[in-house]
């Protein structure tokens, strides 16, 4: 890892780690009477850790120029491992938080284990930890292969990957201490947000710099999706997190928006986080790994372009459907509703394009659990985008909003689509990255597939049932015109579904653990094998010189 860096890159890594450590020290001193100090200490440790990591290999010989004839996959490998580690952590917290709703005593009287604190650990852990690391890892792989060019340098990918994980650690540890901006999916406080901007801009620059060096005339559509993901998430993140800290020595900040504007900005962010973090990036994954694994080109390339722009134009306007029946002007609600309904067209175009690609390869889907993961992901993508458009209609929303139906919808997308396409892509990618013929155990992939599918179905059906019951109980009036059920009545009615949901989530978690074991054993298997086909490996076009050389 370090020995692959040039001397200049090692020096740069030490300088940046030192700078990070100094920032951490400053935060720790300025925030010594505040929770900010704890985060300062974490940043300081990260910086010192980085310095020691580089110094330990600093005097190893520099890599030869031969490396420039290969793709640079080390960050992708580490990203896959980090992604699976976060999957297990994030899903463990998910099962815990689900169990908490069925058995509230599971907080064990600890403040940090209360629902409001461990729930964001779950959401950030799975979305940013698991999903984000998988996106970074796969994007570096897809970017290099589709442009047939090596990453522009060897330091910035590490900066992005490790810097991003520092953000995730700061986020999760902050929640447990009670630090939050109270904005859903944007909970981390101002200093973490600023750090993420630096990391994210570097990420985007890697993309641009690699594309500049591409040997392929046309930029493959998967890269469009990845770039939309990076660019739009940057815009969303900056606008939604504009806030003023009460002092530089305090973790607490206040948003610059107020009232309904704050709500609108938050849900413009929130829905586009679903659109560009949880959809566009993973569509990029799908448009590369699904045709690759099936051995067939995408059904219609033109359709993929049209659906790309459809999704990009329309998702931007859909956020206000989160604020039906609020102080938001009626026309803005209608706007969001309309765009949400029209969004079904590009969404189904993508799902249909994926399934039509598999037409003629169904025997492979039957035999290969990896491809089946991707197929099921496309089906769930189609299902949950249909459900989303439907739920965005104001009249439907009056029943579904604030109920578990929303939770079920999100998990149909998150488990059925995002996690399934990610696991499918990881299973396809791991043998390529570690240069082995196949994964350690295809049987365990099969086991994982059925655990994941049954877990998702149990989860989603439990939440559909409880959500609709909840929604109906909240709007049932008796003869005298008052509510027929108290809130606690609806809560009691939910109990069996909450248990079922916990079971579904537990199956999904076990699946993720099986996947981690399988990938880990594949890595061990690859290490024990001699590096036989090093010359046969996939390499970039021409001998690409590094900038500055």
């Amino acid at each position: 890892m370090i020995s692959a860096l040039t001397l200049a890159e090692r020096q740069l890594a030490i300088a940046v780690s030192l700078l990070l450590a100094l920032c951490g020290l400053a935060m720790a001193i300025a925030g010594r009477d505040d929770l900010l100090g704890v985060h300062g200490a974490i940043v300081l440790l990260f910086g010192i850790g980085g310095i020691f990591l580089v110094l330990s290999k600093y005097f190893e010989p520099e890599p030869s120029d031969e490396r420039l004839t290969r793709y640079y996959d080390d960050p992708t490998k580490v990203g896959i491992v980090l992604s699976l580690a976060w999957a297990v952590v994030g899903m463990f917290f998910g099962v815990w938080v689900a169990a908490l709703l069925a058995w509230p005593d599971l907080t064990f009287d600890a403040g940090w284990a209360s629902f409001g604190r461990i729930r964001p650990v779950h959401t950030s852990g799975v979305i940013f930890g698991f999903g984000g690391n998988a996106l970074i890892a796969t994007s570096f792989h897809v970017l290099q292969r589709t442009s047939r060019a090596r990453l522009p340098d060897q330091f910035s990918p590490w900066f992005v990957l490790i810097g991003y994980n520092l953000f995730c650690v700061i986020a999760a540890s902050g929640y447990l201490m009670g630090l939050t901006q109270s904005k859903e999916y944007a909970e981390p406080e101002w200093y973490a947000d600023l750090w993420l901007v630096v990391v994210w801009v570097t990420y985007f620059l890697i993309y641009i710099r690699t594309l500049q060096r591409r040997k392929e005339p046309h930029i493959y559509v998967a890269n469009w999706y990845y770039m939309a993901f990076i660019l739009v998430v940057a815009v969303l993140h900056i606008v939604n997190n504009l806030a003023l800290p009460i002092s530089l020595g305090s973790a607490k900040s206040y948003t610059v928006y107020s009232g309904v504007q704050d709500a609108m900005v938050q849900w413009w962010y929130g829905h586009n986080a679903v659109a560009f973090f949880l959809t566009a990036g993973f569509l990029g994954m799908m448009y590369y790994y699904l045709p690759k694994r099936a051995g067939r080109p995408i059904f219609s390339y033109r359709l993929s372009i049209i659906s790309f722009w459809g999704i990009t134009f329309m998702y931007m306007w859909a956020g206000s459907h989160h604020l039906h029946y609020t102080a938001l002007p009626q026309w803005v609600q209608t706007l969001g509703m309309t765009f949400s309904v029209v969004l079904l067209v590009p969404s189904w175009a993508s799902a249909g394009n994926a399934l039509a690609t598999l037409n003629g390869a169904w025997h492979k889907v039957r035999d290969d659990a990896t491809l089946r993961f991707m197929m099921v992901a496309a089906v769930f993508y189609g299902l949950s985008t249909f459900e989303g458009s439907f739920m965005a209609i104001r009249a439907v929303n009056s029943l579904s909003h604030y109920t578990d139906w929303t939770v079920g919808h999100v998990h149909a997308g998150a488990l059925g689509w995002v996690a399934m396409i990610t696991f499918g892509s990881i299973y396809a990618l791991v043998p390529w990255m570690w240069k082995v013929k196949q994964i350690y155990s295809p049987k365990l992939v099969e086991v994982h597939f059925w655990l994941a599918l049954s877990g998702t179905i149990i989860y989603v059906f439990a939440m559909w049932n409880s959500g609709i019951i909840q929604g109906l109980m909240w709007r049932t009036y008796n003869d005298s015109g008052t509510l027929a059920y108290s809130f606690i009545d609806s809560l009691v009615a939910m109990h069996p579904y909450y248990i079922a949901r916990t079971v579904g989530g537990l199956l999904f978690l076990i699946g993720a653990i099986v996947a981690s074991y399988n990938v880990w054993m594949t890595i061990r298997m690859a290490r024990s094998q001699a590096p036989e086909h090093a010359a046969e490996a996939d390499i970039p076009a021409g001998t690409a010189l590094q900038p500055g050389e």
Partner: protein, 56 residues
Amino acid sequence: MGLDHQTLVAFAKSWGLFYLIALAIGVLIYAFWPSNRKRFDRAKKSILDKDDRPGD
């Protein structure tokens, strides 16, 4: 400045509509432009090249 809520709403409702339709037409023209066909065909097949080795 007379930039009140009503002005913004009028702007959003008119120009917002026009530019989205214009963009949609632009995308359709790009996707279906006959000379782009070869490029797209190459793009969708090239990712399947053997181990994406260069020079193929």
